[in-house]
């Protein structure tokens, strides 16, 4: 009897312990090292899982609160397909919920590795920072101070003008009182007309000034240098090509092989933005907030018909009406692959420092004279080009030079670009 009672109390204690353990199951798993877990998570799990968002697989923050059976998690992570086959009900449910996609097996993970990862997933969600927005006030302060200075200057000028006016008036009054006769002269413009030489000089100057500006005006007609249209989606080349160092040709892959450099299809955007659903807080700056950039990614999802909650395409895309920036007239032929792949010309040579442009603009005039100048200065890469060995050798002999320019290869012939 006594013995029984004793056993009873033990089981009670054990039961109590179990309850406590279950209640604080998060902290049990947290015995792993979340820092080591983060590294493991980022290199192994993050391809399919995010902490707070559904991706290829479920969101993993607090997964140990959902599944308190540690051994189940161990065997699932090491080989989920086996568990699905064996008919474990929860395993089958998860497998069906995520499009019957088997999770990659990780047999190489030790218990400690998995504990570390679970410790990382159990960490509380960090509070997002909203501090970035306040940076904007600095630049507006500058604007205000400039405005104040300009305003003060204008005020001083007005006061000076008023003072001058008053001085002349007072002097006139004084002269009248003193009875001094002020000599009447012709007004200034009459004296100017009488001076024939001055008229001639100013007419010539005016005509030259006019001719200069009329010439300048006509020369810039049809030249779109500096053209900077507003695009339907605010795509920042600075963030993509500059800060993140993505190669131009990753998106504009047609430039390598085709006449046109191509507008990247939106599936190229989705290669990354399926996963990158919002910008990093450090991407936002004084001019554009994180919220602004996040909205642009949402525009992309709308255009491609991507549903974030279902992680699938709805099948009703909307084409984006991008505004074309660089546009040669229809009578000029230009081939990208000829310049990019054959000539090995850097994109920036014609497009300017695109990787620094928040809003893309036309950097160069793209006029015929501009093309011709480059053709005159640029040497052709003849090394390692067996196809042209003979003609290169003969042309070099003909012109008596070591290096052929594009112009000497026929790059100035009208028919090369106009036909």
């Amino acid at each position: 009897m006594k013995q029984v009672k004793h056993r009873n109390s033990t089981s009670k204690v054990l039961g109590f312990c179990l309850a406590v353990m279950l209640a604080f199951s998060t902290s049990i798993f947290a015995q792993g090292d979340p820092v080591a877990g983060k590294a493991l998570f980022n290199s192994n799990c993050a391809a399919c899982h995010k902490l707070d968002k559904k991706m290829t697989g479920p969101a993993l923050r607090g997964v140990v609160d959902r599944i308190d059976d540690k051994d189940w998690l161990y065997s699932w992570i090491r080989n989920s397909a086996k568990m699905v086959k064996s008919g474990d009900p929860y395993a089958v449910k998860i497998f069906a919920e995520y499009n019957n996609t088997a999770m990659t097996a990780f047999p190489q993970f030790s218990d400690a590795d998995i504990d570390n990862i679970l410790a990382y997933t159990s960490a509380p969600k960090p509070v997002s920072k909203v501090a970035v927005a306040s940076i904007g006030s600095d630049s507006s302060d500058d604007g205000v101070s400039v405005d104040i200075v300009l305003g003060l200057l204008a005020l001083i000028l007005v006061v000076l003008a008023a003072m001058l006016f008053m001085v002349t008036k007072t002097l006139g009054n004084l002269a009248k009182q003193a009875g001094v006769e002020v000599e009447k002269t012709d007004p200034i413009w009459k004296r100017f007309v009488k001076n024939q030489f001055l008229v001639l000089v100013s007419v010539i100057a005016f005509m030259m000034f006019g001719a200069f500006h009329v010439f300048g005006f006509f020369m810039q007609v049809g030249v779109d240098q500096g053209y900077k249209p507003v695009q339907p989606i605010h795509f920042s080349h600075k963030i993509h090509a500059g800060d993140n160092g993505i190669d131009c040709k990753y998106c504009h892959s047609n430039a390598r092989v085709s006449k046109t450099s191509g507008i990247p299809a939106l599936n190229v955007c989705m290669n990354c933005h399926k996963t990158i659903t919002e910008v990093a807080p450090e991407t936002a700056d004084a001019d554009y907030s994180k919220d602004f950039y996040d909205k642009q990614i949402q525009k992309l999802y709308k255009a491609t018909g991507w549903s974030e909650s279902d992680q699938a395409y709805t099948g009703t895309p909307e084409p984006v009406k991008w505004v074309r920036v660089h546009n040669l007239p229809d009578f000029a032929y230009f081939n990208h692959s000829q310049h990019v792949t054959v000539g090995g010309v850097a994109c920036q040579k014609c497009h300017g420092p695109v990787e620094e442009m928040e809003i893309l603009e036309q950097h160069e005039p793209l006029t015929m004279g501009w093309c011709i100048n480059c053709h005159r200065d640029t040497n052709v890469k003849t090394e390692g080009n067996e196809y042209y060995t003979k003609i290169h050798a003969e042309l070099k002999k003909k012109y008596g030079v070591d290096q052929l320019t594009v112009a000497q290869m026929g790059g100035l012939e009208c028919g090369k670009c106009h036909y």
């Binding site: 810039q220 990753y250 399926k274």
Partner: protein, 182 residues
């Protein structure tokens, strides 16, 4: 006289304002010579029902020089590609050099220069879960399959690389894996 001066001033100011406007294109001398009568690449066009010049190929047709890839985007397809897909091109130095160049454009930003999974986007924690080639059981065939269809977070790169280029990259990836496991 005074009206004339005012008119010139107004026209002058208007001209200056319109020249400084950078969000609209400039005037053209003879627009007929600048703008094509036919539709331009990606332009809007009334010739098609959906109003855009960029059209998908007609069902059942393929582009000249393009061969369909018949292995399906399934788990079995992947195993098949891994075990039995063989590159139709030879692993020459030239192919590997092109592969390296293309790898630099399309893969390095995530997979890193040597395929260790330490590209720029991974280092800045913008794109995660990129494995080291060393840790993955891959063959040239399975790499080709993955480039074509994408895998997990990686999207398909079939639109950016043609068949030949995909094989060149796959070959180069195999070489990187061999170098890493050495």
């Amino acid at each position: 006289m005074k009206i004339l001066v005012k008119a010139i001033a107004v026209v002058g100011i208007l001209a200056m304002v319109s020249c400084n406007e950078s969000s609209t294109p400039n005037y053209q001398f003879f627009p007929n010579m600048y703008q094509s009568v036919g539709y331009e690449t990606y332009s809007e066009s009334a010739a098609f029902n959906n109003g855009v010049a960029a059209q998908l190929p007609v069902d059942g047709t393929i582009k000249r020089g393009w061969m369909p890839y018949e292995v399906a985007n399934t788990a079995e397809g992947k195993i098949f590609a891994k075990d039995s897909l063989v590159s139709p091109i030879k692993s020459t130095e030239k192919n590997l050099a092109t592969g390296k160049e293309l790898f630099g454009i399309y893969c390095t930003v995530c997979h890193g220069k040597k395929g260790k999974g330490d590209g720029g986007l991974v280092k800045s924690e913008k794109f995660l879960g990129v494995p080291n080639y060393k840790d993955r059981d891959i063959t040239t065939g399975s790499v080709y399959h993955t480039i074509y269809y994408g895998l997990n977070s990686m999207g398909s790169h079939a639109g950016q690389l043609n068949e030949n280029e995909r094989w060149q990259v796959a070959m180069y990836v195999s070489k990187l894996k061999a170098d890493l496991t050495k």
